[in-house]
Symmetry: C2
Subunit: 474 residues, 2 copies
């Protein structure tokens, strides 16, 4: 054991005393879900890449584990310390400079601590689109998005975060800085180090900057909230949407009636846009540039074909930007209102799209066997095969949900694994799912991951316990 | 030194004697450019993943280096053995089964040895598009495309090979098989092993299978061959094309007059589609689904705007599929006809698009100083900032080009490095560029690459001398 005080002095030297906070500051040591309540040796807030490097070096020399953190909006406890009080939280939120915007090259270079909404705004200011969009975009940081390979509602068209990044600046576990800030779409000069760090959840290095891709702005939208009888119908409608929408298909989200009911009950101003209730809904959107004038027709065609095929029973088409916002609010409100309703057990799974309907059909009854009365609030990105298959407690019985949680999650994950799906589509593993992931992966795959961790962080000081469980015998 | 014969016996046992060929078979030990003429201990052609694993295990136990090889169409000597006669060539070309096509999920699962054109055809058979397209598509294999992260003419819209792959099956250097054949767009359960192997040029593992992404078919095209006065005009036209074409912009290629002259001289049936000669040309194509009926109008608008702005002086629009093929042949014929013309020095560079014009402008005179009379045959993917900046010898003076080659390449690479470009946009490093890449990279970056190599292939048996130069002291 090292005495903490010499390290704290070095940290104060590195970033200034005002930016070394106490280790019990809830904003930094408790996660968004409230499930993970840690305690840190200190919270350090460097203001530059050089300061990050100095902090990492100091901690490496003191053999003190570091937990990198962005906006602290993660859902799996990947950005908060454990309860030991021995880890240092390294918050990137003071690093929020947009370093450069190049509309011709279609790139933007940012500090890791820039809030996602600010990246979007900087792109919009030069008539470009940075397409990543998620519920927490007003507070999550781009560094956190990169570290977790965040998803969201634009993945269908633009891909996950890893598809939006061209280059990175990373402080390595020994404090050296890797400058990989290249804005090139094509660069075949060795291993793809950028993609190695994206999604590594702060376990291989600390991302301090990034070059991101920009796209042509898409100011035109055609948007509809569509009632679909079943998940199978949603998938059938997706196929039609891909054909009719082509490259314009930007969003294809699903929600069940339970999810809509929660939003209608708890979100101020929310109104059901359709007269008759439906078991399932789809939010579909086509997006185009200023010169794409066929979007409304394409949406109209898609909806007619959907109704003809029996895949859609009714639809509300957004006739104004305000109506569009209202439809989006129904989808985006779900995550927040779920908290109001009491205990929630979250799952973020991917299934092969062709298996989505059968899987969902079979899952409901199986969960009722585990916990009668459990209420699946299902929504997500059906165009990507990604469901947020969340469970609310039977009314008034939060305790029962918590007790049954291991069995419920196991049932869901087993069923996902049987379909070769993923138990974490976009949230990452963090502390919550590291052990579960290891249990579903092959030994070869776990060995490969451990070999990479060992190669880059041989002392295991970066975010220990996140993504990978500690090796046996430690 | 091990005696080769026990290993040869084991290899024959593993794959059958008929599939162990002599080590001097030119089809396997000489590369497409003819520059690299190696010699192998043997050429082994396994027919299944299990056989590949057996071959890798046998070579690992005999401490014999292995060179994985696909269609042997690489341009940097990454798939042929050195001259020692001690390396075993592992050809994947007998593994050519399309394992599964899933049009709903938009995936195709293939053996590594499937020829690229056969992947395209299997996708087309279910009304889908596998967009990767390159000159060698009739003979290159998808495994080679993956190992080199191949580019081509569809990168602008669909990205490099790494953006087209969802999962891999890889035989590791110790002979174990990693089954990462997942067809999921979203799977955030650990480090991205797939992207680590893509572009690793056979130095970390042997790719034996892959799940690839399919896209909606784009049977509609609007295509034009456009005369542009300068590279700066081409870049200006690109900006217009991005705005007017939006998501439909699929191709934006450039060629200089020297390149067109070579094609007109050597490609049977080639005709200049425009009356007056121009210093530079652009091949632009918009592509859409069956229901996209605005492509011709968008192209027309783009060309009018281009002429108005002075960025384009004339254009030939394809009025039939045959005319379209003829325009494409002018672009795709360049690489092949260059061989006819005598000695060629190839460079495959990326520049930031905004610097492309100035860079090209400055490069010409600088090279004339190094070798008066040298003829730049410049073409490539201007939409990606990627130029094939090739040099033909002064007429009748092949020898002079070969003598000046190191100085010419150094001048080009120095100028690329000064602009933070890439000295290998899409061809990879292979044996040809490994040393040059190391000299332009930071020490930190080379160390990271070596650490990954060491972690996965500690004995250095997979494709030694390719991508990375041997560490100092070996």
């Amino acid at each position: 054991m090292t005495d903490p005080h010499p390290l704290l002095d070095r940290l104060r030297e590195a970033v200034g005393a005002a930016h070394v906070l106490a280790g019990d500051d809830e904003a930094y040591v408790v996660d968004w879900t409230g499930v993970h309540r840690g305690r840190a040796l200190a919270v350090v807030r460097p203001g530059s890449t050089e300061e990050v490097a100095a902090v990492v070096r100091a901690c490496a020399e003191a053999r003190t584990p570091l937990v990198p953190q962005g906006g602290n909006t993660g859902l799996v406890g990947g950005g908060v310390p454990d309860g030991s009080g021995r880890q240092v939280v390294l918050s990137l939120t003071r690093m929020r400079t947009v370093r450069e915007v190049d509309p011709v090259a279609g790139t933007i270079t940012v500090d890791a601590g820039v809030v996602l909404a600010d990246v979007q705004a900087a792109a919009a200011a030069v008539d470009r689109l940075f397409p990543m969009s998620l519920g927490s975009e007003g507070s999550c940081t781009i560094g956190g998005n990169l570290a977790t390979n965040a998803g969201g509602t634009a993945v269908l068209r633009y891909g996950m975060t890893r598809e939006l990044v061209l280059g990175l600046e990373v402080v390595l576990p020994d404090g050296r800085v890797w400058d990989g800030l290249r804005g090139l779409r094509k660069d075949n000069t060795g291993y793809d180090l950028t993609q190695l760090f994206v999604g590594s959840e702060g376990t291989l290095g600390v991302i301090t900057g990034a070059v991101l891709r920009l796209f042509p702005a898409t100011p035109r939208h055609a948007t509809a909230w569509v009632a679909v009888p079943t998940v199978a119908d949603a998938v059938a409608l997706l196929t039609l949407a891909q054909r009719e929408g082509g490259a314009h298909l930007a969003t294809f989200e699903i929600a069940n009636r339970q999810a809509l009911d929660l939003v209608l009950a708890h979100l101020p101003g929310a109104v059901d846009p359709l007269e008759a209730p439906s078991d399932w809904y789809v939010l579909v959107e086509l997006a185009g540039t200023a010169s794409d004038d066929g979007l409304d027709d394409a949406l109209e065609r898609l909806l007619s074909l959907g109704v003809e095929a029996g895949a859609a029973t009714d639809a509300a088409v957004a006739t104004s930007p305000a109506r569009r916002d209202a439809l989006w609010a129904l989808r985006e409100g779900i995550s927040e209102v779920q908290k109001v309703e009491g205990a929630t057990l979250k799952h973020d799974v991917t299934l092969p799209i062709a298996r989505l309907a059968d899987w969902t059909e079979a899952m409901g009854p199986r969960l009722q066997e585990v916990l009668p009365g459990v209420r699946p609030v299902t929504y997500g990105h059906v165009g990507d095969g990604n469901l947020h298959y969340n469970l609310n407690a039977p009314v008034g019985r939060d305790r029962d949900l918590l007790d049954a949680a291991p069995d419920l999650s196991r049932a869901i994950y087993d069923a996902v694994a049987a379909e070769h799906g993923s138990i974490s589509a976009e949230h990452g593993l963090g502390r919550t799912k590291a052990a579960a992931a290891a249990s579903y992966k092959s030994e070869v795959e776990v060995d490969l991951m451990r070999a990479l961790k060992q190669a880059l962080d041989p002392d295991g000081l970066l975010n220990p316990g996140v993504l990978l469980t500690p090796p046996a015998g430690t």
